[in-house]
Amino acid sequence: MAWQQPKTNWDTHPKAIEPADMNRIEGNIEAVREQSDMALRLETVSSFPAHTAGRVIYHTGNKRAYVSDGSQWIPIGVEGDAVAANVLAGKKFSSLAAGVGVTGTMPNRGAVTITPGTANQTILQGYHNGSGYVKGDANLVSANILRGKSIFGVVGGARRIAHGSFRRPGESRPFPTGEFDFILGWRPCIAVMEYRGFEDAHEYSIAWTEYAFRETGRGAIEIVSFLSNGIRYKLTSSSHPNATIYYFAAEEP
């Protein structure tokens, strides 16, 4: 049924109501609900009325249209599942999950700079503006990292050195003599070992594979060979108690 212009200048005297008038009125009653070129205004209220599923209102206080689902008022045009924690602190938003005009609580971290260390560092929850970064260091290269180690995936290539001292094997006379292995964990190419007993004598041995060089002074200790994981040395004295063996070694290239 098409919409017809209403007649508002009625004068039934002497003109009677014509069937066309009544048909127009009846037809317009039916057509008015679906008339697409006429304004449609919601019920305007300042407080929420009784529920009827599908009832729509405009709330003048909230300045928002709502539709009733029969038991609650749902803001029209509001979508989404964001909650306050998902929105930047201080910013207003609306969603079906949080409601209308809710204030966000997500902390604004801005630009965070992280310097890597030995322990994991928590990246604080919140908004990051994209200018933050994790510091880099040009020194983080293989040559600066000892072999056997890796830092952030960079495998070390620097040769290792070791120096220190240890007490000779055995606890009482006669102290054991013969060959012993001193474990470094890697193959050395040069090593110096010094045997220092109670008489304060210095006895040493030096070995350097690059030049097939080996020298021993006074004979109490002798570097026999380099192992894939350390040094094989020989002790000849069984009488020096509390002797200390000092060593220095560098890894092969």
């Binding site: 209403p6 007649k7 508002t8 200048n9 009625w10 004068d11 039934t12 005297h13 109501i17 008038d21 009125i25 317009n28 009653i29 008015v32 679906e34 008339q35 697409s36 006429m38 304004a39 449609l40 205004r41 919601l42 019920e43 305007t44 009325p49 009827t52 599923a53 599908g54 009832r55 729509v56 209102i57 405009y58 539709v67 689902d69 749902i74 029209i76 045009g77």
Partner: protein
Amino acid sequence: MEFKTWTAKDAITDSDLKRIEENILHIREEPTLPLVLEVLSSYPAHAPGRMFYHSGDKKVYTSTGTAWV
């Protein structure tokens, strides 16, 4: 808007007819009367501007003529 409760002896006057016709004209813009959307559980045929309340997802939809927004 004004409404009249009719009784059997009432004659139809010019003012009655005028009011009825005007009410039809203004019913869409009356802010003091409840307006209930068509309530459906599935999407109906499109007509630009057609609105309905979807009882399944509890949302109001408006047709663009080809899509529900």
